[in-house]
Symmetry: C3
């Protein structure tokens, strides 16, 4: 499976208010930056983002071979009119229907990578495995993974599945070390799996000066940035992620190309271990023991 | 191994103040309801419940083949007179003696399923395995499991044992989601093991209106009950457990047959995923992410 | 691999202000007590303790065959002058250099057991494995282990290593039950691995009467000590550790031989399960469930 080292997230595509032409331009410039993988979910933009992206593939089908499409299923969004609540559905039937919808919306005949969006307390790993196998055999989906799973949830699903789960998409950033604390980082490294990282910049918390942790991290980023001659703190946070041996694949969620360029610049930056730990310890709020 | 889909718990048999005749009637009516498995422990009723049950098997030995007996060992109860404290003993010697006592008290020559009652911080999995093998070879016990074990404790014991552990008896109810949170549910499903669930009704907390969580859960149960045309909230909680794909085997602890009937009625109820999550989210106190 | 049942810790060797002659005498008397394993780390005494110990081996090389040397690497200590921060380095290069330094300082050509001192959030298990294999092939290190690792961190490293990790050196004492709570004790027992225990006496907390937990534990130790005819509470704590079926190898950190004798005396003491639990429950602050 190939994913570009940095991934462009499409969660907010609807909010960017792009015309189809603008979306196409954005995608082409993204590809020019070497970022060829696009991260979707059925539910993004209240079930609209896949469709907005698909309009581009419809008008310019030759783009399909140049990109990799990741999408997700398993969450059902609430609906005030029908009084539907927010819940999960990882039944075989729902997964198959969700993928068919995604293919239709995206104007493509295959998904590169399909993820179960959230660990479902009602999930039946055998059913998920059946759905995955069927999607694999039909060629509708090439690779499979999960998102936000713990180690044990990952293992429970993998134990029923005759295909390797290829990633766990989790939140990783200096603002969120939970997957260091719950050992997911070590587990994934032990399995040679690259985690995809959502919210690598913690959604703007980086510059929230009302927050002690943010101030602490930003102060340290500036120090390390000075040592390395890096002005963009975005870039440095991406470098912090990209330097980790687990092989983090960060997802840039912005619709502004400058932001994505900041991420791409991080590919050329090498932190020393000491620099990496300086940022880690600022995030922890104390030295390692 | 066969266990009935719902199990009758005998922890409070002493408190029911039944005559042997009344106990026999209770057992026979329980069997008539399709509930053929009875859950004991050496210590229930301060070491008396197995004996009270055994009186029935003594007077009516033909009952033995119609039922499955689960019992447990490993806890030593405190004793004020001898100043003995409350502790655990999972030594080979204690397990063997405890089973011999249980057989004598129950007036039977075999236990269907023996569980280690609690994870023992002083346990030696090799010793437990030796005891289990010996009990298996002698025919005194047919199957083995644990109760209240974490995933790692389960794996530590299983790694030393040449017989499969067949269950983990744990507390599961809308009032106690700890085994969702600690991943036991996912682990057991991954191993195709049915957890037995103790306190499926959380010991009456369901109707404790002084408790915010209870009120929240009960309000939601009533809503879902209305959708399904179910009046008994007991029944609905049992249905919530029985519908889960992990295959929960709930233990009804009441000595009143109407309560057991409420449980048995749940076998015919099918919740939608959305209904299951409505109750789960009421229990959580918030939506799933 | 052979380690003596009790290990002498050398973390504070510098603080003891021994002459080389005094250190030699201390070592020889320690050996006379049957304590032949000495626990070091590259960083102890701000990188000085291995050297102080090595002076003895230099002047009396015949001692080497009578003892086992454990040392550790992976922590980099801060340095005010160079403004170096406190961080971890488990790169192959650092591990190899650190062992070469240890060998030079200790005046020996082999380490019996090398441990990774702390789980490194930046670690690459494959690199550690490469370093370990190279050290094994060259004969510089005979056995390998870890310290302060969780179960998942242990498994991640083991999965990349073609040699068995032989121990996890962790803090265990009645004052610190964390490795019961995180299941490390059960995991290690399941793997037949003996944990080494640092701070078995919790660094003097035993006699800290300002601390409720200490008072609670000490009161119970005195009761159990009276039952067993043991005056030294140190001895009783060591016995509590040594009696556990996981096979705890406690590290005595004192430079006073009487303290080590207290530990050695514990080898002859047998606690009943009830006595062991009395101390465990005093440590918990409540009965087991």
């Amino acid at each position: 499976m190939y994913l570009s080292r940095i991934v462009q997230g499409m969660m907010r595509l609807r909010d960017w208010n792009f015309s189809t032409k603008e979306t196409e331009e954005f995608i082409m410039k993204t590809i020019d930056l070497g970022v060829t993988t696009f991260d979707h979910a059925d539910i993004y933009g209240n079930y609209t983002c896949e469709g907005l992206f698909g309009e581009v593939l419809k008008s310019n089908p030759s783009l399909r071979d140049k990109i990799q499409i990741v999408t997700k299923c398993g969450i059902v969004l609430p609906n005030k009119e029908t009084k539907r609540i927010h819940y999960y559905d990882t039944s075989k039937d729902h997964i198959l229907k969700s993928v068919d919808n995604s293919l239709r919306n995206l104007h493509t005949d295959y998904i590169d990578l399909l993820l179960i969006h959230r660990p479902d307390p009602f999930m039946n790993p055998e059913e998920i495995a059946e759905a995955f196998l069927e999607l694999h055999k039909s060629g509708k989906v090439r690779f499979f993974g999960v998102s936000n799973f713990t180690i044990n949830q990952f293992e429970a699903l993998q134990s029923k599945l005759n295909l390797p789960l290829v990633t766990n998409q989790i939140e990783i950033s200096p603002f969120n070390l939970e997957h260091f604390e719950n050992d997911n980082i070590y587990f994934l490294k032990g399995k040679n799996l690259n985690p995809m990282a959502w919210s690598p910049l913690a959604g703007g918390k980086l510059f929230d000066v009302s927050n002690d942790k943010s101030v602490r991290i930003l102060t340290t980023l500036k120090e390390v940035g000075k040592e390395l001659g890096i002005d963009s703190m975005d870039t440095l946070v991406y470098a912090w992620l990209l330097n980790h041996p687990v092989g983090v694949i960060p997802i840039s969620g912005s619709g502004r190309l400058e932001r994505l360029k900041n991420a791409v610049e991080a590919l050329n930056i090498k932190l020393t271990r000491e620099q990496w730990f300086k940022i880690y310890e600022a995030a922890l709020g104390h030295d390692v023991p």
